[in-house]
């Protein structure tokens, strides 16, 4: 699969992944654009489509972290918890039940969010999540477990508030 085909096939899903991590479409598009730019810059192309997608996925996660870090340092007055689902794509409105879950997700730690997004949206295995995030499978498992517990607690607190 050539880069053009890879771009055409996976750009949207990668933007969606980045969106779930950085929470605004413009940043998500930038993150994915940078990820493809890094891949284009490789002198040794990844011919295996699975390896290429894994490379892009990791690049998107790392790029999302950088985007968040830049956002948090350059515009530090905007706390992460206040960044609700932006809606430049106003064609759809999130149901209240979904918003509650996403608000809770936004209050978790960075790694917990990443693990949950990769597990429950990307549908990756523990091994693939471990490879994407550069952590052990055991850490993926324990992080996912703790993240779900934390999400449940946060949502319960919100419902009782």
């Amino acid at each position: 699969m050539g880069l053009d085909e890879l771009y055409a096939t996976h750009r949207l899903s990668l933007v969606r992944l980045a969106l779930l991590l950085v929470d605004d479409v413009a940043s998500a598009e930038d993150v994915v654009h940078d990820a493809f730019a890094r891949m284009v810059a490789r002198r040794t192309p990844l011919r295996d489509p699975h390896a290429a997608l894994a490379y892009l996925r990791t690049s998107v996660v790392n790029g999302s972290r950088s985007a968040l870090r830049r956002r948090r340092t350059a515009r530090a007055y905007a706390p992460p918890a206040d960044v609700g689902p932006a809606s430049p794509e106003d064609t759809a409105v999130l149901a209240e039940e979904h918003r509650a879950v996403l608000d809770g997700l936004a209050r978790l730690g960075r790694r917990q969010r990443e693990v949950l997004v990769l597990r429950y949206w990307s549908g990756l295995s523990e091994a693939d999540i471990a490879a994407t995030l550069g952590i052990s499978r055991g850490t993926v498992k324990s992080t996912a477990s703790r993240a779900l517990g934390a999400l449940e607690r946060v949502m319960t607190q919100e419902e009782q508030a």
Partner: protein
Amino acid sequence: MSSDLEKRLADALEARASQVGPEHLSPRGLPAPERRGPARPVWVGLAAAACLAAVGAGVVVPRLLADPDSAAPPAVSRPDVPSDVGRDWTPIDGVRSELDLDGDGESDAVELRGEPDPGYEGRTRLDVDLSGGGTAYGVVDLGSTLTSYSPQGADLDGDGTDEMVLTLDVAETSTRPLVLDLRDGVLVEVEQPLGDRTPLTAGPLQAGVDPDSGLVEQRVTDWWVADGTLRSSVSETAYPALGMSWFVPDPYVAQVVTWRLDGDVLLSRPADDVCVSRLDDERRPCGPGEQDGLPDLTPAAGDLVATGQTADLEGGLPSRVRVVDAGGRDRVLLGAPGEPGSGFERTGTRLRIFTTAPSAVVVDAVTAAYDSDADDRPDGVLVESEVGGISVLAAPDDDPAWLTAGGEVYTTSAASGRVGLGQWVRDGDELVVVPLGTVCLPDDGDVTAAERC
């Protein structure tokens, strides 16, 4: 999906993701190739250059690395960070710094404050009391506020003032430097240019999979600040990893780059190789033609116990082995001293047990190496099982093996005129051979004279 929460989470993520469709994407095409900065790790270029140079004098070696100086100076940016952010965050104790941000020859005092966060994943505020007068501050995301690496100073742009270098955890086993430049009283983060993949980390860098052993191979990366300079290195060779073990020779040869600040970005320049000894915790210039070190292949462990004998094993966990005659069969009892030990019977052949434990083969259990054909070479190892009894792990292949006084079992295998050095390691319920590279042996095969080819 095992719970209602998991289903709600998956549904919410899908709903959010589905809000972006193809029609919402900007009409950008595939990015054009990046023009500036080295497009591949420096060590690749260095190796290629060395090969070409060796072909013969008079050959013009093409410049394989992009010349950082040929790039246009990048624009200098300064993010707008409100000065009051994080003033009330929790002070992080134990921070020591020796850096001179204002260039007056005196160290500046640095204070770190961590953003309250139950997971210690908040941001960190940096406050600097400049010795020459005035203050500076910055807000960074170090990944954790739990640990505090003390800031270091390095004059990366040669203007007589230090930049601040912090340590950022990027994975469980890796760090990278986070470089901050002081601009108008604000500490601003600077990074490598987009597309520059020169390693600037400390930790393993996955390089591929060995096709024969199937083991992951990783290069060793490192970075450090010394004499006011930020340097990083990557090992010339990738080394196999298995579980928590990584088989890095000591010393290993690493290629080095120095980093300098040009506007907003960090650019690298090749420097001299170093030979790194992790055992001695030193980096030193490599000697002429110096290669990766070899492990201690000798002395070989030669003492064995046979039928009717008992011995406390040397090395590894405290253990005692006894070989008894059980009616024409050898019965080996292995366990902690003072305990009867688990039994293992072997029919037909006489077993002898090495008095040196193969502690580098099996690191977490009582273990012994056995010789079943009286050639004074190990034919496998016995392992006391957690659930009782003894597990027998047979030799992974027929290559000649020897046990050293240090508890390692090495093997050599000759193929295509090359001698491959390997090391036995337990992998679950079996022994595997971890490849340690090729060596040259004298005609008599004397391993005491082994050297890198």
